[in-house]
Symmetry: C2
């Protein structure tokens, strides 16, 4: 089994999933596509997100991937069901792993979720949680400024602190919440700031880390784990600006990981895939 795992995201957020995949599954080769040119997906309509996601998937299918990781919460919320039904390779999204980790973590069943407008208004986390455990109280909060800020490369410092504090204000009065799900793969890039604002007593769940672990489980279940000990060479594609993508990738990956990847520009559209 020497095929690669395909990873898609609306932009650079999915790199946090990739970072964890590299760490937790170092033998696996990854092919990543970030639709930076059309990011953010959060405020887009369901139909638009579905169309863009399928265009990304079609691009990766030409690379002969063995499994697909939808490393974007908005895309997961709107397309996971269809993708699972229509693709003949295993597909994993970021919502169910995050929900499961929150269920394991919470001791008082008071869980918060932050994400894009699309993810929060879809109710995808509430549904995923309720499907498994009925008595979980879920508070959802959309944080629209986070993704554009991360895509500009602002990950910490006073601007980040101010924006995060302001966005999370509605949660500051909820003293009971013991677990907060980062329901957008861009948000782990702001994790230390978010943890600081929420306080030590709240467990912050990164759906990126959890998705990497479940990817490992699925490779096992489907018996498609890579057995070679060769160092894999990863391929990264962005539909947008190459330079800023490389800058952010350098922030996400350690030097040793960064050397293992090539970054290229990709053009995707409904009619044109290469």
């Amino acid at each position: 089994m020497d095929k690669a795992i395909g990873v898609i995201d609306s932009g650079v957020g999915g790199l946090t999933v990739v970072h964890e995949l590299m760490r937790q599954l170092p033998k696996e080769q990854l092919i990543y596509l970030g639709d930076t040119a059309r990011c953010p997906y959060g405020p887009r309509s369901k139909e638009e997100v579905q169309q863009f996601t399928w265009e990304m998937v079609d691009f990766l299918l030409t690379k002969n991937i063995k499994m697909l990781v939808v490393a974007c919460n908005t895309a997961t919320a709107f397309t996971l069901k269809d993708l699972k039904e229509q693709l003949d390779i295993p597909v994993i999204g970021v919502i169910q792993p995050g929900a499961r980790a929150a269920i394991k973590s919470t001791t008082n069943n008071q869980v918060g979720v932050i994400g894009t407008e699309g993810t929060i208004s879809s109710g995808a986390y509430s549904q995923a949680l309720a499907k498994i455990k009925s008595n979980i109280q879920v508070s959802g909060l959309a944080c629209p400024p986070f993704v554009p800020m991360v895509e500009r490369g602002v990950l910490s410092g006073s601007e980040a602190k101010t924006v995060v504090t302001e966005a999370l204000r509605p949660f500051s009065s909820n003293k009971k919440m013991d677990t907060l799900i980062l329901g957008c793969t861009h948000y782990p890039l702001l994790k230390s700031t978010i943890q600081e604002v929420m306080g030590e007593e709240v467990t912050v769940i990164s759906s990126s880390e959890e998705t990497a672990r479940e990817t490992s489980t699925l490779l096992d279940v489907h018996q498609i784990m890579n057995r070679s000990d060769l160092v894999p060479l990863h391929q990264f594609y962005t539909t947008g600006d190459l330079e800023i993508f490389i800058e952010i990738a350098k922030t996400v990956f350690q030097e040793s990981h960064f050397q293992m990847l090539t970054i290229k520009q990709a053009n995707i559209s409904t009619n044109k895939v290469w």
Copy 2:
């Protein structure tokens, strides 16, 4: 899908898995069989463990289970591969989930594993870890006194502290180890003592908690999650002493959970299953 999940163990250790299954998958009905009469499995031969495990599985198959959780590390080490090949329901063991959690947790790739003689000498954890990540340094240590002590109901206090301190002495000089896998489902019942002896800086991984989470993943993948919101009534069987089993179950489960289960005695043998 209103069938139950079957759980087997050599004795009461698997109750720690059940406790987590109840907490993380409260809609699922469980049928548990503990082979207390023939516990511990640790010092037994591979052939004997395989025979006993199949006798337990045959008993649970008569209960029409939809999935099997092998909540015993020794049985997982010696029979998981066969069970997966020969049963037409999903099967999960406790070793892979523990290994995956350790890979996620460790930052310096120095991992310790404690378990029964059978589990440690089988090298099952080293293999599971190496399959995913080649550069993990694994130190294994068999702790034979733990299981009989737990089966007697000694879970804390001075006897437990003395026995645990003595058994873990070989690890006291390994200052680099940052993660310790409890590679036996009896050991989470001694977790606080083990954590105290190992020190705060070591992350102690309970394969029980992780197995419950991966069970959730597998129910999802196979689309056999229970959709009813009715409170499930669990069934517990022991091949050994009913009173001591009930005593230990009371320690493991909170009052509210304990009320949700019935405990019965079971006789299993190669020729006689009911």
